[in-house]
Subunit: 155 residues, 2 copies
DNA sequence: GGGCAGTACATGCAAATGCATGTAAATCGG
DNA sequence: CCGATTTACATGCATTTGCATGTACTGCCC
């Protein structure tokens, strides 16, 4: 029997090339976004925390849930939140149902800053993405990246 | 005349949601990749430099070209390359045609390490991406991310 | 060709990050 | 219900990163 290895290796290659392209696109877009004036006062990761909190329905979010969203180690996130707290942008509170946990929410000032930066940020994104892809292509890219993310093993 | 603002704002929203989804997918995949055993000896950014050099046809690459590929400041890349050089993985050489420039290439040891890590890395990628998307979906995602990257303003 | 702005890379230094570990609380096994 | 393991977060410390700046070279304009 011939090994017939080609299909398997080409499937692996396709996956690798797809990831590589996704990753390079992310790097290229992110580089342009973070060098813009929207982030003169706040690092991208810091903004991302404010943004995630602003999307949270209850207003409060556990630190470990936040950590899933951000590409930072647990300890780095802990200190990033320290900084945001010292700047008066977020508030900490011990989790009521779990003595180990910490809940976070935006302060009024934090919410205001998020909205202000968010407006600029969204505009910057649109200036990069909208000319590059048609609306239909954007919807498809959105669908595929959501599917990819949703299909990942939980940990 | 009615302002008819809705189409514009929804185009902006679509672009923002598309980018958000792409970014989160990248974070989720990257988190899983970088915590794997492939990167026990080398940070992802360091591997990325070796990888980029391994793809370079001439074998030599300018530092500033390398910097376009990697999400690092110029100074951080300079020092990252210092570290790789001290570990004997890359070699520096003054650019012959430009007295300010520096050319880089992999050493034999660097090329070997890149191949070794690359094998594991590609396997890890395939284990995450292949089950998540069909081959056709991967090809489409590859196409869209390539198009996005290619359409960005040069700087 | 001589000055002058711009580019490529290196380096001092403060800030951010990750690893290892510490502490406290929850959960599990008996 | 008690000890052992696991989970959530914080912290000491070494490493990495970015900003500002320095140095050397290039290219431009006159």
């Amino acid at each position: 029997m011939a090994p017939r290895k080609a299909p398997a290796t080409s499937a692996v290659r396709l996956a690798a090339e797809t990831w590589e392209s996704l990753f390079r696109a992310q790097v290229a877009v992110m580089r342009r976004l973070q060098s813009g004036p929207a982030f003169r006062n706040l690092a991208v990761n810091e903004y991302d925390v404010l943004f995630t909190l602003s999307r949270c329905p209850s207003g409060w979010l556990r630190l470990n849930e936040l950590n899933d969203n951000v590409l930072l180690s647990q300890s780095s996130l802990s200190r990033l939140v320290d900084r945001l707290e010292k700047r008066g942008l977020v508030a900490r509170m011990p989790a009521p149902d779990d003595g180990r946990g910490v809940l976070l929410k935006l302060t009024e000032e934090g919410a205001a800053l998020q909205k202000e930066i968010g407006r600029e940020h969204v505009r910057d994104i649109a200036e990069l993405v909208a000319p590059a892809l048609t609306a239909a292509e954007q919807r498809e890219l959105l669908r595929l990246t959501e599917k990819l993310r949703a299909s990942l093993p939980s940990r």
